[in-house]
């Protein structure tokens, strides 16, 4: 029996917006990032090779927002090939970005990545805990359908941003938790009502009781009263609020990446600063999709979902079967029971989130879709049913050397 799993009471997921793995963590050596920038390139529209460069800026560089809808991501992954039997080559990022502003010099910025010193929070967590270097978006497409995989294990056939219907018998992870016997506790925390949620059509509309605000989440960390499962959404907009002026911290281009760093540090610090919360909580920081920004790893195939999209797969001319993943995204798992510098190179996607929560909290739920059933889990239950070799909370003794952040006043 593993003490880390014995102690684990709370799983927290913080899902950020629209940045690729290479863009955020590619500077870290030896984890499958951009160890040798010269080894990678993308042709621009003049067929000149453009290499990744550590020149990413916090804000003002990726404007307009790089296209990350299904057709654009197809171009980014397959480099304009649409024939049957085509091979993914990750050669279309610069061309895709060129399509938006017709500016060759500007299109090259899609290859830029951050230096380690630029992102002290995310890179520290990646080095101090477990970093996943093969966590992919669930769909080669945009935000809403990718986030649906985190809540339902499927997007019900959607590869776009339109509202979708939940198709029975599939249930959200929150419904599974609160209707379990015995009932479990689960919350979605949106930043505030002005930022609201990206899970409006089904969750917020029909189950507002499973929602709380970010300030409630921080209080729950401070008071060791977190629900068993928490999903935290960042602030999506610059806006005024009762507490003052709010700056978007979701890191969606062209929002300030440093504001997102501050959010991640704040979530981590509130969990860590209560010793009881810290000892009993695992925090996953993950990005919903790559946002059109370069990554060099070819997304792998996966089992088909039970749904088929109305959008055509360019290689087959048929509806997309959800049989391959989206572009790689940053993902880090934090707990004092995880050893330093753990690199996880198994394949994950957002369906791994409901799969893990369902398995760990032992919910009796036979109706998961095929994608969720096939998804790997990042925390195994401690009842002998899980594969302990894959367990990331593997230490016998809780670490006392975990980092602290000093937040700006």
């Amino acid at each position: 029996m593993l003490p880390g799993l014995d102690n684990l009471r709370h799983i927290v997921v913080l899902m950020m917006e629209n940045r690729s793995f290479d863009h955020m963590l590619g500077s870290l050596p030896g984890i499958g990032g951009i160890d040798d920038a010269g080894a990678f390139s993308n042709p621009d529209t003049n067929d000149n090779p453009v290499q990744p460069q550590a020149l990413a800026e916090f804000q003002g560089q990726l404007n307009p927002d790089p296209d990350h809808h299904f057709p654009a991501v197809d171009l980014q992954i397959f480099g304009n090939a649409t024939n049957r039997g085509r091979q993914a080559n990750m050669q279309g990022f610069v061309k895709s970005y060129f399509n938006q502003r017709q500016d060759v010099a500007h299109s090259q910025k899609i290859m830029y990545y951050f230096q380690r010193k630029d992102l002290p929070v995310l890179t520290t967590l990646a080095l101090q805990f477990a970093v996943f270097n093969r966590w992919f978006a669930s769909i080669p497409g945009p935000t809403i359908c990718n986030r649906a995989f985190a809540h339902y294990g499927t997007s019900f056939g959607r590869v776009d941003m339109n509202p979708f219907d939940v198709i029975e018998p599939i249930k959200s992870i929150y419904t599974r938790m609160v209707t379990a016997n015995p009932a479990r506790t689960a919350k979605v925390y949106y930043y505030d009502t002005a930022s609201s949620s990206m899970e409006v059509p089904n969750l917020l509309q029909n189950q507002p009781q499973v929602f709380g605000q970010y300030r409630d989440f921080l209080s729950a960390c401070d008071n060791n009263s977190l629900p068993q499962y928490s999903f935290v959404e960042p602030n999506y907009t610059d806006h005024d609020s009762d507490s003052g002026e709010e700056v978007a911290n979701d890191q969606h281009p062209d929002h300030d990446v440093q504001a997102g760093e501050l959010l991640i540090a704040e979530v981590y610090s509130h969990i860590k600063n209560n010793p009881k919360t810290w000892a009993t909580t695992a925090l996953l920081v993950v990005y919903d999709e790559h946002g059109g920004i370069f990554d060099h790893v070819i997304p792998p195939p996966c089992v088909k979902d039970r749904f088929q999209s109305s959008q055509l797969d360019p290689s087959t001319g048929q509806g997309f079967f959800f049989d391959r993943l989206g572009v790689r995204v940053p993902a880090v798992l934090v707990s004092p029971w995880i050893p330093k510098e753990k690199v996880v190179d198994r394949v994950f996607d957002h369906a791994s989130i409901p799969a893990t929560v369902t398995k760990f909290f032992q919910l009796n739920y036979p109706d998961a879709g095929p994608r969720e059933k096939a998804a790997d889990v990042f925390i195994e239950p401690n009842d002998g049913s899980g594969n302990m070799a894959n367990n990331l909370l593997s230490l016998d003794v809780m670490r006392t050397d975990c980092p602290d952040f000093t937040l700006p006043s």
């Binding site: 059509p201 917020l204 005024d240």
Partner: protein
């Protein structure tokens, strides 16, 4: 390990930034949810006029609060209706109990009074 300083973001708040495709999709979702609310909860904001992040935030706040209020009001109404459904039953039960206790005496009195007046 020394605490790691987190830099203060240098960005200037800009609610006039044009709303991204993500935020416009969120507006679409909020509008769908708003349409399902009783009209008294509608924001009165024309969703197609929303251009900036500040516009989207104002609409999101209005609809999000309306969704919560509508659900809270509906819960209160359901509780009231349930109490009402129970109340007549309770009154009827109380009446029957009262009748059972008073019936013999009251009937006699009523007949007596009626007889005297007549």
């Amino acid at each position: 390990m020394d605490p790691i300083p987190v830099p203060k973001p240098k960005s200037v708040r800009n609610p006039n930034r044009p709303a991204s495709s993500l935020l416009l999709a969120q507006v679409h979702h909020l509008r769908e949810a708003e349409k399902n609310l009783p009209t008294r909860y509608h924001s009165g904001i024309f969703h197609k006029s929303l251009i900036t992040e500040g516009d989207v935030a104002r609409y999101a706040q209005s609809v999000t609060e309306a969704i919560h209020k509508a659900h809270n009001d509906a819960a209160k109404d359901r509780a009231k209706a349930a109490a009402k459904r129970k109340a007549p039953r309770r009154r009827a039960q109380a009446d029957r109990t009262t009748q059972r206790k008073r019936q013999p005496g009251e009937k006699k009195k009523a007949r007596t009074k009626a007889g005297r007046k007549g």
